[in-house]
C-alpha cells in the first residue's frame, strides 16, 4: 500500500508530462528559424486526469482481477500533437519565442512544485517508517 501510492503515482506522471513538455520547448526553440516548421505541443493535463480516473470516477468499472476490463488507462503517455495554426510569420513557421519562453517558465515551476510535493510525500513515509520518532 505504501509503495503503491496514488499520490506518488500521480506526481510521477506529472513529472513525465513536464519533461515531455520541456522536450517540446527545446525542439520548437531549436527550429525557430526552420521555414514551414509547425510547433509540437504537449497538453497532458486531460490525459493525466483520465489516467487517474478523473472524469469517469463514477462510471469506473469495478475490477478485482487483472483480466477484468477496465475503463481507466493503465499507462500514462503524454500526448504529443502538432499545432498547425498559421502564426504571424511570413515563412510559415508558427513558433512564437515569447509564448515558448513563458510556457517553459511555467513548466519549470510546475516541475519544481511536483518535485517538492514528492519530497514531502517521501518525507512523510520516512516519518511513518521511523515509527513517529525523528
Amino acid at each position: 500500500m505504501i509503495t503503491n501510492n496514488r499520490t506518488i503515482n500521480a506526481l510521477e506522471m506529472s513529472l513525465e508530462g513536464a519533461v515531455t513538455r520541456q522536450k517540446a520547448a527545446a525542439h520548437n526553440m531549436s527550429n525557430i528559424n526552420t521555414p514551414g516548421f509547425k510547433r509540437l505541443q504537449v497538453n497532458f493535463e486531460e490525459e493525466l486526469k483520465n489516467a487517474l480516473g478523473g472524469y469517469n470516477r463514477k462510471l469506473r468499472l469495478k475490477t478485482t482481477s487483472d483480466k477484468h476490463i477496465s475503463n481507466i488507462p493503465d499507462k500514462f503517455v503524454p500526448p504529443v500533437t502538432r499545432d498547425y495554426s498559421l502564426g504571424l510569420r511570413a515563412d510559415g513557421n508558427n513558433v512564437d519565442i515569447d509564448k515558448e519562453m513563458v510556457m517553459m517558465a511555467q513548466n519549470n515551476i510546475y516541475f519544481d512544485t511536483a518535485v517538492s510535493q514528492l519530497n514531502k510525500r517521501i518525507e512523510m513515509l520516512k516519518y511513518i517508517e521511523s515509527d513517529g520518532r525523528r
Partner: protein, 144 residues
C-alpha cells in the same frame, strides 16, 4: 535519460545557429570578392534548416513517445540572385565598358540575419539552462 536528449536538441539548435553565423561572416568577408571558384564573382551563401524527426518513433506509434530531435543544416546553397554591377574602370576585373560584377550581397540583410541568428542562439541557451535546472531539481527527489 530523456533530459539528456532534450539537451542534445538544444545543442543541435546552437550548432545550426552558429553555422549560420559562420556563413554570414563568410558572406561579409567576401563582400568585394570578384573572383570565385565558379566563374564570376562570389555568390551569397545560405543555410537550409531542416527539422529532425525520429523515424523509428513514427513507425512504432505516433502517440506518446516524443518524435522531435531538434534541427540540422541539410545544405548550404548559393543565392541565385544576379550579381550587382558597379562602374569602376580601374578595377582589374572590369569589362570593356568599365563595369565590374560584384557579389549579390546586401550588407543590411546580412546584419539583420546575423542578429536573428544571435538572438536564436541565446534563446536556445536559455532553454538549455532551464533543462539543466529541471535535471538538477530531479536529482533532489528523495533527498528531502
Amino acid at each position: 535519460m530523456s533530459l539528456l536528449t532534450t539537451m542534445d536538441m538544444s545543442a543541435s539548435g546552437l550548432t545550426s545557429e552558429r553555422l549560420r553565423m559562420e556563413i554570414i561572416a563568410e558572406n561579409i568577408a567576401n563582400i568585394d570578392t570578384t573572383r570565385s571558384g565558379n566563374s564570376g564573382p562570389y555568390r551569397r551563401k545560405m543555410v537550409v534548416f531542416h527539422e529532425v524527426l525520429d523515424k523509428e518513433v513514427y513507425r512504432i506509434n505516433n502517440k506518446g513517445l516524443f518524435p522531435g530531435r531538434g534541427v540540422k543544416v541539410t545544405r548550404i546553397i548559393e543565392d541565385d540572385a544576379l550579381p550587382l554591377v558597379a562602374y569602376d574602370p580601374e578595377h582589374p576585373d572590369a569589362n570593356e565598358e568599365g563595369l565590374v560584377m560584384k557579389p549579390n550581397i546586401n550588407l543590411a540583410d546580412e546584419m539583420v540575419d546575423l542578429i536573428t541568428a544571435s538572438r536564436s542562439y541565446s534563446a536556445n541557451v536559455t532553454v538549455l539552462n532551464t533543462t539543466k535546472a529541471v535535471a538538477i531539481k530531479a536529482l533532489t527527489i528523495g533527498r528531502g
